[in-house]
Symmetry: C2
């Protein structure tokens, strides 16, 4: 990973007390912006990325040389329209694309942190990103938007800063991880830790890389991002460039090649320790527990207008878990809309070209923007 | 693994031509029996085990020192009643509990096979076990029964030997693996192969063991054996012997400890290469393709009476896939019954104490046995 390539970052000089008890200060927060902040500074949208996302929401990602992760949704004339709105996205702390994370050098030791990096939480990520509002002198964001772990950050943001966003759009997310979701994340972590090159997290200082373990972790996660039916339709039992079985352990089936490919390209752009830290943050996230067992309490002080979006075939963050958020908001009479989008593409639907979803997002954003009312 | 402990086996001296083209001869087939074969030899039930099962269906398993894998179903007075029936179960070829498999010594080289072992199929497994009928001089089995991969063997057995079983009970199974099932198996294989101790399958000859990779593979599989709701009910977000999060990568949540434990005990009883070979056999199994794209053709010659059983919360071999078998049998007017059992325990329901399932199994077996009619 080349960490010096076109990475723009802010140095946060205000100390941030983390949930684990440690305090970080003078740390980098890498970010990108799209579109222009207007004079009234009322058109800013903070987009939060998911587990393996980054600040390169749209346009060319300088690391992967591919389109940004949300190019279908963000751009000129798109659902999140860069002609109208000023979009900000930051790499989460704990990440590996410029913000402070386990692959950074610890100034106290001059060595790469590895697993000496403090455990971070979704709350810490959101509090770090709040500094962007001060940096851009934005009194109130127009919107906070994110899918998956990005949706957790949306919920945490509104809970922490009830009057700092007009609109909140949590997508395909949850207020806390189910046992099955923790299980899949733990599987990924154990896969990385099982790699002898992981070296208790010290691999970078020893010029090694637990690529095999990270690749298997990515394969596991990737299966959860797609639906059973979607996989069946796309791959079924199709063979990989051959007419019959090869009677070996090579990739006979297309689904096998596909997964191996997904694993192999992932290790070129992601740090194994960041994967550990960010999945841990997701598993620790529990907005219900944070608020004494009642999710409604997370939102009692907010006037933010919500739109919760889920997808029919998402089994990682199923509609039922998204609905719990809606129910909690309804219970306190908050302004909340809910849409379940029909899609066979599973959890990944929010990242893909899902017209019904993109239209819903566009309509809600445009009709909610004060100037358009 | 101690392979010499109370392992009873038959040496098959009839050459067996495998689907891959190779022929095996004079190979061991390890088996156990429960109950007594009656004089008419009409009370024999052949039970087929699943991926990580073995011949120790009931009673004490001499390897694990725990109850046999189907102790809830097989025993005196139980659904598969050892007081009435003669139950035979063999370790599949490719396995690691006495039958010929990759951990055996190749007589040609005097070295452990490892991945020089031929790829085997469900068809090969069934053809190897057919020798048990000749050995016990059984003209016709009363029943063939199995769940999961055991169910595949049931289907393959009836297809290969249409007049050799009165009754067939495929449970929680499929006529071929979906893309998602292949994906999960490939994840397990890649996890094993990612372990530096795997050594291209030659680990036993080099006194190594890819235990970490095998453990992760088991963790992945284990998640698929349980339902999301079942996991949530049993574990939810319960913490492991502590009141609050530890802010580390230790097992904070009970589900994490549980998975780690499942992985760690598995490596003591299972061979990593056997895991590769058997998952490969499952992925290769395609009774539809074997019969020119029409599953009904697999059963045209049979008079066997079927009972297909599925479980509501089984997402690995969902009811829909079990129903496809029923539909194919109905299409040719075969004698087939179908029961979907309500259970929140996922695919594992067939191995657990699931009263409705065990009662259904018992009733069907007893009412189908000629003497009881």
């Amino acid at each position: 990973m080349n960490k010096n390539l076109n990475i723009k970052s802010l140095i946060i000089d205000k100390p941030l007390k983390l949930d684990c008890g440690q305090t970080i200060v003078n740390f980098p927060l890498a970010y990108e912006t799209y579109g222009s902040l207007n004079e009234k500074k009322d058109n800013a949208i903070l987009v939060f990325h998911a587990l393996t996302g980054d600040q390169f929401v749209s346009g060319l990602n300088p690391i992967t040389k591919k389109d940004g992760w949300w190019s279908y949704a963000v751009g000129s004339g798109k659902a999140i329209d860069t002609d109208k709105y000023f979009i900000i996205c930051a790499n989460v702390i704990g990440g590996c694309l410029g913000s402070l994370g386990p692959s950074n050098i610890n100034p106290d030791t001059n060595k790469i942190y590895g697993t000496t990096f403090p455990i971070i939480t979704i709350n810490d990520m959101v509090n770090a990103q709040y500094n962007l509002l001060e940096f851009f002198k934005i009194e109130k964001l127009f919107a906070v938007i994110g899918g998956s772990m990005g949706g957790m950050q949306v919920l945490q943001f509104v809970s922490n800063f009830p009057n700092k966003a007009e609109v909140a759009i949590p997508i395909a997310t949850t207020s806390n991880h189910s046992a099955q979701n923790i299980a899949f994340n733990e599987l990924g972590r154990q896969s990385i830790m099982a790699d002898t090159n992981w070296l208790s997290g010290d691999y970078s200082n020893q010029n090694k890389n637990p690529n095999k373990g990270l690749s298997v972790a990515r394969m596991a996660a990737h299966i959860t991002y797609l639906s059973k039916n979607g996989l069946q339709e796309k791959f079924g039992r199709k063979l990989q460039e051959r007419d019959d079985l090869k009677f070996s352990f090579d990739a006979d089936f297309q689904i096998e090649s596909y997964l191996r490919y997904q694993g192999s390209v992932f290790v070129d752009r992601f740090d194994a320790n960041s994967y550990l830290y960010i999945t841990r943050a997701m598993d620790y996230f529990d907005l219900i527990k944070q608020h004494g067992g009642n999710l409604s309490n997370a939102f009692t002080d907010t006037k933010t207008k919500f739109l919760v979006i889920s997808f029919t075939s998402d089994w990682l963050y199923p509609t039922s878990e998204n609905k719990e958020i809606v129910i909690a908001l309804n219970a306190i009479g908050a302004d909340v809309g809910f849409v379940e989008i029909e899609s066979d593409k599973g959890h990944d639907s929010f990242l893909l070209n899902t017209p019904k979803f993109l239209d819903t997002l566009k309509d809600f954003i445009n009709t909610s923007y004060p100037k358009n009312k």
